[in-house]
């Protein structure tokens, strides 16, 4: 079987890559193009000269702060979601707390339209002065990713042989120690993969940030949307900031690559 059609498959894979990466290639060129190369018909595919002005602008005008804000918010949200989600998942996986109904109930939160939820949240955050604050955005993103973490980690925890936990208990570990010293280290692959995806979800989140941030904690998606104004669309700025913002996520993906496929699917399989 192997070998037959192997070359054909490779060509097919290459074609797919071209189709899926063309948009990214395009913003890569746009980021380095002069305005004369961007606003020209017919479009030119490669920059005539390399232009670093837009990257410079992102630093001189302080737009880079959006990346820092996104890093802070996504990291904070990931920590909250992982801590609360994983412990809840353990309780559900091992103690059947609340049974299947609770598990389904938790998952059903994932389908809440952020726009529907953020409206009352906006009003409350105005009262308690959490609008435009890191804490407010972190709390919201963290809570919203709990259902995902619970469902993924439940699968990973069920994978840990229960005998290990039992013998730890018999050896005199408390339940807490068993969780920290036995279960979590055993499930670390799942922990990492789930954390990466939670990070990506929080990193990409737009609706909450759009409504709840004004000047202080503007995140990357909000900043990029600001570049798409009604009067003018700053193509090259969008391109430059998108590329810079892609770096942290891409690093996360590459470092975690061998866990990724397992990461998205295992929770689903176990679900």
């Amino acid at each position: 079987m192997r070998g037959r059609g192997g070359g054909l498959r490779f060509i097919g894979a290459l074609a797919l890559l071209v189709v899926f990466l063309f948009p990214l290639f395009w913003i890569l060129t746009v980021a380095f193009k002069n305005p004369e190369d961007i606003f020209v018909t017919p479009p030119v595919w490669l920059p005539s000269t390399l232009n670093f002005q837009d990257f410079a602008l992102i630093f001189s005008e302080g737009y880079y702060r959006a990346i820092l804000n996104s890093l802070i918010v996504a990291t904070g949200a990931t920590i909250i979601a992982m801590v609360f989600g994983t412990t809840a998942a353990y309780s559900i996986a091992r103690h059947r707390t609340g049974g299947e109904t609770l598990a389904n109930w938790i998952l059903s939160w994932r389908m809440l339209p952020p726009i529907a939820v953020v409206f009352p949240i906006f009003l409350v955050f105005s009262v308690v002065e959490l609008r435009d604050s890191y804490f407010g955005l972190i709390l919201l993103n963290g809570a919203f990713n709990i259902p995902y973490v619970v469902w993924m980690m439940r699968g990973y925890i069920e994978d840990v042989p229960i005998e290990l936990e039992e013998s730890a208990l018999v050896d005199g570990c408390s339940r807490w120690q068993t969780l920290y010293r036995v279960v979590l280290p055993m499930a670390r692959t799942g922990l990492f993969a789930t954390a990466v995806f939670t990070f990506i979800f929080a990193w990409n989140e737009y609706a909450f940030a759009l409504v709840l941030t004004e000047t202080e904690v503007i995140t990357v998606p909000v900043q990029i949307a600001k570049f798409m104004g009604r009067e003018a669309t700053y193509f090259s700025r969008i391109a430059a900031l998108s590329l810079l913002a892609l770096i942290p996520v891409f690093l996360a993906v590459v470092t975690m690559q061998r866990y990724l496929v397992r990461g998205i699917s295992l929770g689903a399989i176990k679900g």
């Binding site: 192997g6 490779f10 097919g12 797919l16 899926f20 990466l21 063309f22 948009p23 990214l24 395009w26 606003f39 017919p42 479009p43 989600g85 309780s91 091992r94 059947r96 707390t97 609340g98 389904n104 938790i106 059903s108 994932r110 389908m111 809440l112 339209p113 952020p114 726009i115 529907a116 939820v117 409206f119 009352p120 963290g142 809570a143 259902p147 936990e165 039992e166 208990l169 018999v170 005199g172 408390s174 339940r175 807490w176 990506i200 989140e205 609706a207 998606p221 990029i224 949307a225 798409m228 193509f235 998108s242 996520v249 990724l260 496929v261 998205i264 699917s265 295992l266 689903a268 679900g271």
Partner: protein, 304 residues
């Protein structure tokens, strides 16, 4: 397995307060957070939906079902539901079919497989609003390369398709962006599922003379079914609440032709400040979707 674990605790003899309430202490913080962030908005939406708060007046008196009547009698609301339904009904099968086809391609050994996977996953890790921005550039009527490429393919006649404005092309535009961004996600999940299918079964069926289609329907499909259902569920729910991509591309336009439920809700709540009306809409949408999800999840369980 619970009774066994329970007994082991007794054997270990540890019975501090923390230990005894262990399983609840682990669970409650998450539940409290979810209720705080989730249940509160639902109740709040319900409350304001019985009042009459608009941009112009702040009438806190009980108004009965006024806002629900308004909602039901507003064509724009029903259109928004229809738009959302159409987008979901077209995008979901497309993502599934493309994702499955790609997964079939990559489930066999391919040189440089890991690099391919790392690069192919990139669209899915891009913020959807950014994906929308990128496609706006690509589809720009005069400065975008897509019209240029179409021009080449149609024999040098320059194309000037107004992808973001022309009523005929706005849906294809949104679908294209949506499918580009999320097919890789579907692909990764299905690839994992396909990798777990025992090849010997497929080979045995092949020896027995079954055609490729029969093998796929009878052996492969049932094996990946549970994963596929969950993937469809996750993507379906995301599509139902679609906001970012539509907002970036058309803001619901031209007119209200591509307005989804989320876009409509945003417009009414944050641009028109129709607080009570939006509250009623949010409440209805949340309740309907929750029920749908509960029913779907039960179905999925039974299906297994």
């Amino acid at each position: 397995m619970t009774p066994r674990a329970e007994r082991s605790t007794a054997a270990a003899g540890s019975s501090g307060w923390l230990d005894r309430h262990f399983k609840y202490l682990l669970l409650y913080p998450a539940i409290v957070l979810l209720l705080l962030i989730g249940l509160f908005p639902v109740l709040y939406s319900l409350m304001v939906s019985f009042q009459n708060l608009t941009m112009l007046k702040q009438d806190y008196g009980f108004q009965g079902l006024l806002n629900y009547e308004r909602l039901i009698n507003t064509d724009r609301f029903w259109w928004a539901i229809l738009h959302t339904g159409v987008l979901t009904a077209i995008a979901l099968p497309l993502e599934l079919v493309f994702g499955l086809a790609m997964a079939r391609l990559f489930v066999k050994d391919i040189r440089g497989k890991r690099l391919f996977l790392a690069l192919l996953v990139l669209p899915a890790v891009l913020p959807p609003i950014v994906a929308g921005g990128i496609w706006r550039m690509l589809l720009d009527v005069s400065f975008g390369p897509i019209n240029q490429i179409i021009g080449w393919l149609s024999g040098g006649v320059p194309a000037s398709i107004n992808w973001l404005i022309d009523p005929f092309y706005v849906y294809p535009t949104i679908l294209l962006t949506e499918v580009w961004e999320w097919t890789p996600f579907m692909f990764l999940i299905l690839l994992a599922a396909l990798s777990n299918v025992d090849p010997s079964q497929e080979e045995a069926a092949e020896i027995d003379g079954a055609g490729p289609w029969t093998i796929f329907v009878r052996i492969t499909l049932p094996a990946i079914w549970p994963v596929m259902i969950v993937a469809l569920l996750i993507r379906g729910l995301d599509l139902v609440r679609t906001f970012d991509i539509v907002w970036a591309l058309t803001k619901g336009g031209p007119g209200t032709l591509t307005e989804t439920i989320s876009v409509y809700m945003y417009t009414m709540g944050f641009q028109r400040f129709a607080t009570s009306y939006t509250g009623a809409m949010a409440f209805v949408i949340i309740i309907v979707l929750s029920l749908a999800v509960m029913v779907l999840l039960r179905r999925v369980e039974i299906a297994r």
